[in-house]
């Protein structure tokens, strides 16, 4: 059995790093137990240094302490790994630690928000919350629920999505497949629209639909405002998706004698399916949490209103917004439960869309 001694080339401290069997699998850049110990030691050392610093300076802020700790940790870790393994490994480890910290921060924020909403919303969550509305309960009575708001959100976002997705995909097809003469102008308008503040979209519908044509508040008016807000997001994302489709596919289809509309309908769009689903998801994500425009359009109501076209209708953001400002604990508790349902409704929609989008062709081997 042959043994191999691995040393770092060019390192002045050419100590033996590891002794392995030649045919033993060893992954370059993998972490050994010693590397983990180094990491933990640096973390502890940084914590000690931070503690000392804060005692001396008589600082109190926990946030400042965390930032100081992280900066000291990176410096100490860099020096420690540099001394043990040389500069290449040190740079690699330092970047890994920094990037991992970034990922952890994002993940921690998400966990924090979701657990916060769960913690606040769970106490008032009962089965009745899904089957009752607020028309028969007073602000201090227990009971009641968000059925009317759930129905409203599903109808308003559903109508808006049904209008936006085909319209956005057709626009994206015009922008990227037809490359029509108006394309740059339309792209500019779509970009400008995506920066439109949502309250302005609400005001637009309010002024034209409700004041000018006297249609009254309704879920449909809310859906129209959502269309204005969702359209640019879905259009631009769809266009980017179409851009990723290999031109070779279009050429092959044309070379088989296909007219352009069949190339688009039978080759380009099916190939882009999964990406287009993602585009639609981003649109729904944009629309489902909108509150400001809904105040001016759907208006909100404590009663269950199945019809999106007549009389005011509630939805989950309006439900949360109107109850959280109330002075009594029952109402505030309801608001948090509404927020909880909104979060999980979005999660459920995303999951369903992902499953539908991914249930297409397997990845090609390349």
């Amino acid at each position: 059995m042959s043994h191999q001694v691995i040393t770092l080339p060019g390192a002045g401290h050419a100590d033996v790093l590891s002794v392995t069997h030649a045919d033993e699998p060893k992954r370059p850049r993998s972490w050994s137990r010693r590397d983990v110990v180094e990491l933990l030691l640096s973390a502890v050392a940084a914590a000690g240094a931070t503690g000392t610093l804060f005692v001396i300076m008589d600082w109190r802020s926990l946030v400042a302490a965390t930032i100081w700790w992280f900066l000291l940790f990176v410096v100490i870790y860099r020096i420690e790994v540099g001394a043990n393994h040389g500069p290449i490994v040190a740079a690699d480890r330092m970047m890994t630690a920094t990037i991992a910290a970034g990922g952890l921060i994002c993940f921690a924020l998400l966990v924090w928000i979701v657990s916060f909403v769960i913690g606040k919303g769970l106490p008032a969550l009962r089965p009745g919350f899904f089957t009752q509305d607020l028309s028969k309960v007073g602000p201090l009575n227990p009971g009641g629920g968000a059925l009317h708001a759930i129905i409203g959100t599903l109808e308003q976002v559903g109508i808006a999505t049904a209008v936006v997705v085909p319209l956005a995909i057709l626009t994206a097809v015009y922008l990227h497949e037809m490359k029509g003469r108006m394309a740059p102008l339309i792209r500019f308008i779509v970009d400008a629209m995506s920066g439109l503040p949502s309250i302005v979209a609400g005001l637009l519908v309010y002024t034209i639909w409700i004041l000018q044509f006297h249609r009254g508040f309704s879920g449909m008016a809310g859906a129209v405002a959502l269309v204005v807000l969702m359209l640019p997001t879905v259009t631009r994302t769809s266009e980017e998706i179409l851009r990723t489709i290999d031109d070779g596919l279009r050429e092959s289809a044309l070379a088989l004698g296909a007219p352009q509309w069949r190339v688009i309908a039978r080759v380009v769009l099916p190939t882009a399916r999964s990406g287009l689903v993602t585009a639609a998801i981003l649109g729904v994500a944009r629309g489902v949490g909108e509150t400001a425009p809904m105040i001016l359009t759907a208006f909100g109501s404590p009663k269950t209103n199945l019809s999106p076209v007549t009389s005011p209708q509630s939805d989950l953001p309006l439900f949360v917004w109107s109850l959280i400002r109330q002075p009594n604990a029952t109402q505030i508790e309801r608001a948090w439960t509404g927020a909880l349902i909104l979060v999980f409704l979005v999660l459920a929609l995303f999951t369903i869309a992902r499953v539908l989008g991914e249930a297409s062709f397997g990845r090609s081997r390349r």
Binding site: K179, D246, G248, L249, E251, S252, A253, L254, A255, L256, G257, A258, P259, R262, V263, R266, V267, P270, T271, R273, S360, F361, G362, R363, S364, R365, R366
Partner: protein, 282 residues
């Protein structure tokens, strides 16, 4: 003409096309006369006249950027797909001028198929659907799909490898198999001419060998025009050969010499051809 097209013509959606006068099958002659090409204002090809004989393999050779691929794409009206591309001269498919106003480019492309450099089966379709995609895409129907799939895959030399996995996606095949699937896809619409743009340049030598065998077998009932950078390949597969070259920087590409492959390689008439086929430049 398929049943579908006939119906569309009856209800007036589709005008009868001069293409329909052609005999529906068998190898056809392609006759290019004085063909030039432009991208915007830049002339990239000048005065090419070449007859591609029926049932023969014609190879187009020459250094990169000399206009071979452009010429090939002119032959089935794929050149005009590129914005700003223009073309001059005439191309006759047997008795039909394919650039005639009465002829639609989609119908020309059904009769003159094309295989590209990079294998690109449609990723959203299974192997079987890929073979049949030409029919679906051109709005035609077939009475016997099974037979057509088997026949096309047989001719492309792929049937035995995929007969038990027709439902799998085209992307699951190896590069060489994918290219043969693309050939089968092009053959399924029963073209009379097949254009191939460096079909083996992305493949390993064994896959290349298989595809060259396929090309030789196909030539019996389809006229083949192939662009290749590989001079050994041109000698192995082609009956006739045409040499393209750009003489000066920025000038348009021209055809220098054409003729039977053997003669062109063993006894070239032009100094420049001799220099290229003997590997002195390019």
């Amino acid at each position: 003409m398929s049943v579908d097209e006939a119906n569309l013509q009856e209800i007036g959606v589709l005008e009868p096309d001069a293409c329909d006068a052609l005999i529906p099958s068998g190898a056809a002659k392609l006759d290019a006369q004085n063909v030039s090409a432009w991208f915007g204002r830049k002339k990239v090809l000048e005065g090419v006249s070449l007859v591609m004989e029926p049932g023969k393999v014609t190879a187009l050779i020459g250094p990169s950027g000399c206009g071979k691929s452009t010429f090939l794409r002119i032959l089935n009206r794929m050149h005009e797909v590129i914005p700003g591309a223009a073309v001059g001269g005439t191309i006759m498919l047997d008795e039909l001028d394919i650039y005639d106003d009465q002829v639609s480019p989609t119908r020309v492309r059904k009769r003159i198929g094309m295989v590209f450099q990079k294998p690109n089966p449609f990723p959203s379709m299974s192997i079987e659907q890929n073979v049949l995609s030409g029919l679906r895409l051109s709005g035609a129907t077939s009475d016997n799909r099974r037979e057509l799939v088997e026949d096309s895959l047989q001719r492309a030399g792929l049937w035995n490898e995929v007969r038990n996995r027709l439902g799998e996606f085209g992307g699951s095949l190896s590069g060489g198999q994918q290219q043969r699937l693309c050939i089968a896809r092009a053959l399924a619409v029963k073209p009379r001419v097949l254009l191939m743009d460096e079909p083996c340049s992305a493949l390993d030598p064994i896959s290349t060998g298989v595809i060259e065998d396929t090309i030789r077998e196909l030539a019996e009932d389809v006229t083949i025009v192939i662009v290749t950078h590989n001079m050994q390949q041109a000698q192995r597969v082609s009956n006739n050969c045409a040499f393209f070259l750009i003489e000066d920087e920025g000038a348009a590409g021209r055809m220098i010499e054409s003729g039977p492959t053997k003669a062109l390689f063993e006894d070239p008439q032009d100094m420049r051809t001799a220099g290229y086929v003997h590997g002195r430049f390019g």
